[in-house]
């Protein structure tokens, strides 16, 4: 496998310009929502609202104010996290979702049967259906560009290097340095999200520098995989099977005794 690649998104230098969203749609030829004519959302400057099968980048705008002019405005470009242990891969029944040689997670549209299991399986709500293709879609980390040595469209377009692309180990070092710089400047809430390979889901290959709790940015502090319930649900299945078997046996016996009674009355046996 080639070196693990990914994104480090430093939200403290995001200016909310949405160049990443447009670059993503342009490179991947994704349609605008409602022909480019959705209604104003009213949620700050965010009219994209969520990631979807046709929107693989989403800049969030979080207004934290206590009265006029008194507060801060957080911006963060959200994207597929390319989890090291990916929930979507776990649940995909057709093998359409693969881990690439760059340690990224890609849905192969030609293998996807549109069952939607991955939509429920993603702990971040990243995946959705693309109504044009009829399959589940999400960020590919520009697999096609990476394959020929180009960086993904979004990080290429980012004017302030809020989205940084590179080998994960390198990105983690950069993130740690920036974190320490911010903390030394008094930003005590600064924290990395998903940079720890020992952390939830084995770390994220698209990780973040935040200046507040993850929930403020709409991120789960403890993302969970579908397989977390595997043991208990397996046990449940055994019990369930036993119960069903017993019920089946009883039913069968009952039917047979009824059939015997019917034939004894001179009727035709059931087919």
């Amino acid at each position: 496998m080639a070196e693990a690649m990914g994104f480090f998104t430093d939200t403290t230098v995001c200016i909310g310009c949405k160049a990443c969203e447009v670059a993503c749609k342009s490179w991947n030829q994704l349609p605008a929502r409602e022909g480019g004519q959705p209604e104003l959302s009213g949620i700050s400057y965010d009219n994209t609202v969520q990631l979807s099968g046709t929107t693989w980048r989403h800049v969030k705008f979080i207004e934290q104010f206590d009265g006029p002019y008194n507060g801060r405005w957080l911006m963060m470009s959200d994207v597929c996290k390319h989890c090291v242990q990916a929930g979507c891969i776990e649940v995909c029944p057709t093998g359409a979702i693969i881990r690439t040689e760059f340690d990224t997670v890609v849905i192969q549209s030609d293998v996807c049967n549109g069952c939607r299991a991955c939509i429920a399986g993603c702990p971040f709500g990243v995946i959705d259906m693309n109504p044009v293709s009829g399959t589940a879609q999400k960020c590919t980390l520009c697999y096609d560009r990476m394959s020929v040595g180009l960086e993904p469209a979004c990080s290429k377009a980012c004017p302030t290097d809020s989205i940084q692309f590179g080998p994960i180990d390198d990105l983690r070092r950069r993130a740690q340095t920036r974190l320490e710089q911010l903390q030394s400047q008094g930003e005590t809430r600064a924290q990395l999200y998903g940079a720890d390979p020992e952390g939830p889901v084995g770390g994220l290959n698209s990780f973040y520098l935040l200046v507040d709790e993850p929930e403020v940015y709409g991120l789960p502090s403890q993302p969970k995989l579908p397989s977390r319930n595997l043991a208990s649900s397996a046990a449940g299945s055994v019990v369930g099977a036993a119960v069903l078997g017993a019920v089946g046996l009883v039913t069968l016996r009952k039917r047979r005794s009824e059939d015997v009674a019917e034939s004894e009355r001179g009727g035709q046996p059931r087919a």
């Binding site: 909310g16 310009c17 004519q37 209604e39 104003l40 207004e63 002019y69 008194n70 405005w73």
Partner: protein
């Protein structure tokens, strides 16, 4: 100042701009500075995407910027640091006009309750009654004090407007355009003696800065009342916040630290916008931040090639390279008159005759001879204000018959409904654009047509639409905000009949040449003699448009060549001559194309990572590929870098020099060198004295860092060139909720412009008008571009900001019962429009001298065409504007807001 240089800044103040939002790519560099530990400050009525990334956001009421800047000036001048650190005194005395003594006749606003000496009533001339000044200054008393009374004031640089009204009331006033009568002597072989005859004794200086009439003391007294308390009362900015800004700025200026400012149209679109910028320049000179790495003022232009459009120019009042446009309002009757009126004897601009004669040669080619004064009499003259609003006011009165509209959307522009009414008076109109913009369709789909107020059948305008190419569909150049020319190449063929602007104008010109070729009328001779030959060589034709003009021929004419041999291009404006032997349309662009095949604007070679350079091999910046102007000031008076950290350009006393090219005499050792192209006579030593009989740079000393100024000094006090005063003064916008606290007897600038003042469509609200109680400002968003022609038709951009909105604070929303996303009516004396409410704490109520003032804001990108549509916000604005540059006051006016 250029954006990349911001990475060297220690403090960066953004004021009058929403840089992160409107210049996101350039904002890369302030973010780099921030990573390096720089402090970022945003002073703005709104908390924007820019504020979100700054260390400090200081909210101020729209239009109160001079009060804030004046407060900073007062704070700096009286601070301990400024008075004890020797750097500031040394910089200010050596490089600014602080020590220069001003005329005894000058009276300040402090003496005259809000106006300067020389205020007179303005009366319009009958020929073109659209100058629209509400008053006028006679600036004679503003000049430097001269040792002799005679010739007083002749040492200062004339600019486009200076002297205009003086001449207008003199004997030439009212003379129609068309040139003088009677024969004139031929132009001289050299204009040097003419320029030398303009020489006057240098103005008096007091380097101790103690003289009460020196520019420094006048400035100090002028701003003495701009205390933190007064700043808070006028601007609404809490004192603590103001002091935090002042202290941060002061601590980050000095020998070892530099601070920069950036502004955009939120400083220009006022009735005193030029004075806001002037005020910032004054502050930056006091802080010693000019001409130094990471210092200065960055003017963020609103469009990729706006800088180029004013350089080349589309401005009505200047010709190429910011030379004044010949006008009947000044003594410009002959070429000699023009040159004696416009040329200072000192400073680099003393070379104006060379620039002008080379320009006339580019205009008229072989027909321009010494005998006919290089064809000057053929050159058109302006007769007054021909700016956008003056033109529209005339159009509305039926005095303009036709209009060609390219790259503009006036149907949604300032006081839009009036502009649409004006365009309906035209006989014909050409619109050339990428899409059918509101200007192209207003005759059948404007709001007033839809609601039945105007009937299509009553409009007699014939409208022609020409589809236009986009930027990636042709070769050409941008000149963007850092004065840098960058060549761009065609990437794709344009669809259908789309043509370039160069194609359109070139072929229009060719047809007009044919139309007039048999005319013998005197007024047509200039047009007949105009050089108009940019045909592509047959071998070069390629692509779909075979009759496209040759862009490089156009560039060659702009950049200059030897008249006798057009294949010999000019290496720089130092080669320009005033004897007709050089041809060059724009002296400031001279040298960007120094040889056939060497188009320096097409260079793409950055400096290596970590190198301290100015990226001199990336594109080409005017003047002379210089990136930081006046960079002599980056060295101390002895020519050494002010500090190692702020090294940029310095004097190398040991460098050997080639002998004088003309005389062969040896040149003493010593040379200016550095990371940038030095902005100084290369071999002039720091201790050099001016030559007594010298003109131009020879008249300057080794300390005269500001070489374009006739006295070589940065101007704290502006003795000439501005029509609204030598010092910035706080006035209220024309529409204001409060009385001018500083000068109760003078509410507004005494000389602003108000076009169509008597007309119903351009009425303004009175001071504190209860019908229009809220301050409104207009602005742009990242997601859309200007009037929307390049964004509202594009689904990927439209979806990001799909509808028009008004941003308002929670207090106002609660007061009016308005919830987020409710429809709201916004009303001014000009118009009423609708928009959805975006209720937020990023804008809100301010305390202005005890009065609660609500602030609201609206982006102005919308119109009724395209995918994303909305009401025309500019229908709300008025035709009042700045007296120097005729821009409208779109950033601060009054409105009312109601739930719909």
């Amino acid at each position: 100042m250029y954006p990349r240089n911001l990475e060297h800044s220690d403090c960066f103040v953004i004021m009058g701009s929403n840089m992160a939002e409107c210049h996101p790519v350039a904002f890369r560099w302030p973010m780099k500075a921030k990573m390096n530990g720089a402090k970022l400050i945003h002073v703005d009525p709104r908390f924007t995407r820019t504020s979100a990334n700054c260390d400090i956001h200081a909210p101020i009421r729209a239009g109160s910027d001079i009060a804030f800047l004046g407060g900073l000036i007062n704070y700096v001048i009286n601070s301990e640091r400024w008075n004890t650190d020797p750097f500031f005194r040394e910089y200010v005395v050596s490089y600014t006009n602080a020590a220069t003594i001003v005329s005894d006749d000058f009276k300040d606003t402090e003496d005259l309750e809000g106006v300067f000496s020389g205020l007179v009533q303005y009366t319009e001339k009958p020929e073109w009654p659209y100058n629209a000044f509400v008053g006028s200054y006679q600036p004679a008393s503003w000049q430097y004090k001269s040792p002799s009374v005679q010739g007083q004031g002749e040492q200062v640089a004339p600019t486009a407007r200076s002297g205009e009204q003086k001449a207008a009331q003199g004997p030439q006033a009212g003379q129609p355009a068309g040139g003088p009568t009677g024969p004139q002597p031929p132009a001289p072989l050299s204009w040097d003696d003419v320029v030398r005859s303009l020489k006057r004794p240098p103005p008096q200086r007091d380097p101790t800065l103690q003289n009460p009439r020196c520019a420094f003391q006048i400035t100090k007294r002028h701003f003495a009342r701009y205390t933190p308390e007064v700043v808070e009362q006028i601007t609404g900015c809490p004192q603590a916040k103001f002091l935090q800004v002042a202290e941060t700025l002061l601590q980050n200026s000095g020998a070892d630290r530099t601070s920069a400012f950036a502004y955009a149209v939120a400083w220009t679109q006022h009735t005193y916008g030029v004075q806001m910028i002037s005020c910032c320049a004054l502050l930056q000179l006091l802080l010693g931040n000019m001409g130094r790495p990471g210092g200065g003022i960055m003017a963020l232009r609103g469009h990729a090639a706006i800088q180029g459009s004013t350089d080349v120019p589309t401005l009505y009042h200047s010709i190429h390279g910011y030379m004044s446009h010949p006008t009947v309002l000044k003594k410009h009757d002959t070429l000699r008159d023009f040159i004696t009126t416009e040329t200072p004897s000192g400073g680099y601009y003393a070379n104006l005759p060379k620039f002008m004669v080379s320009y006339l040669k580019s205009f008229y080619g072989a027909a321009a001879t010494r005998e006919n004064n290089w064809g000057y009499d053929w050159h058109p003259k302006i007769i007054g204000d021909h700016s956008h609003m003056a033109m529209m006011a005339a159009m509305e009165e039926g005095k303009v018959k036709g209009m060609i509209c390219v790259g503009q959307n006036p149907a949604t522009s300032l006081n839009g409904s009036s502009q649409r009414a004006a365009m309906r008076k035209l006989e014909w109109m050409v619109v050339k654009d990428n899409w059918m913009t509101e200007t192209a369709t207003q005759w059948y789909s404007a709001p007033e047509i839809k609601n039945g107020d105007v009937k299509v059948a009553d409009i007699n305008t014939e409208v022609f639409f020409f589809p236009s190419t986009q930027i990636a569909e042709y070769d050409g150049s941008f000149t963007n905000t850092q004065r840098m020319l960058q060549w761009h190449f065609k990437a794709a063929d344009a669809p259908g009949d789309c043509k370039t602007d160069t194609w359109f104008y070139y072929h229009l010109g060719k047809r007009l040449k044919r139309a007039y070729e048999n005319s013998s009328a005197a007024r047509d001779q200039g047009w007949k003699n105009t050089v108009w030959d940019y045909d592509r060589e047959p071998a070069e034709t390629a692509g779909e448009i075979s009759d496209e003009p040759d862009e490089l021929k156009i560039l060659r004419e702009i950049a200059g060549f030897q008249t006798a041999d057009p294949t010999k291009h000019l290496a720089g404006f130092g080669e320009l001559k005033d004897d007709g032997s050089t041809t060059c349309a724009s002296w400031i662009y001279c040298g960007c194309y120094p040889a056939p095949g060497r188009n320096l604007t097409a260079r793409r070679q950055p400096d290596p990572p970590g190198a301290p350079g100015a990226h001199l091999n990336w594109g080409w910046a005017w003047p002379a590929n210089r990136r930081v102007m006046y960079n002599r000031a980056s060295a101390d008076p002895q020519g050494r870098p002010w500090s190692e950290r702020k090294r940029w350009v310095w004097w190398d006393g040991s460098a050997a020099n080639a002998p004088n090219a003309q005389t062969g005499a040896p040149t003493p050792a010593g040379k200016w060198i550095g990371y940038d192209v030095p902005d100084f006579a290369l071999t002039k030593a720091p201790n050099a004295q001016p030559r007594p009989d010298g003109i131009g740079l020879d008249a300057m000393s080794g300390l005269d860092a500001f070489i374009m100024k006739p006295d070589g000094k940065g101007w704290l006090y502006v003795p000439s060139g501005l029509v609204d005063g030598p010092l910035p003064t706080h006035y209220e916008p024309v529409e204001s909720p409060v009385q001018n606290l500083l000068y109760p007897k003078q509410q507004t600038s005494p000389v602003y412009k108000h076009w169509a003042k008597a007309k119903n469509y351009n009425q303004v609200a009175r001071v504190g008008d209860p019908d229009y109680p809220h301050v409104i400002t207009t602005y742009r968003l990242t997601e859309h571009y200007l009037a929307g022609a390049m964004s509202r038709w594009l689904p990927w951009l439209s979806e990001l900001m799909p509808e028009l909105f008004i941003e308002m604070g929670r207090a106002l929303a609660d007061e009016k019962g308005i919830r987020n996303l409710d429809w709201v009516k916004i009303k001014t004396p000009r118009s009423e429009i609708r928009a959805k409410a975006l209720v937020t704490d990023r804008i809100g109520v301010m305390n202005i001298a005890g009065k609660r003032v609500h602030h609201v804001g609206m982006p102005w990108h919308w119109g009724w065409e395209g995918l994303s549509t909305g009401d025309v916000v500019n229908d709300l604005t008025s035709w009042v504007g700045d007296p120097n540059v005729s821009i409208h006051e779109g950033k601060a006016f009054l409105c009312n807001v109601e739930k719909d």
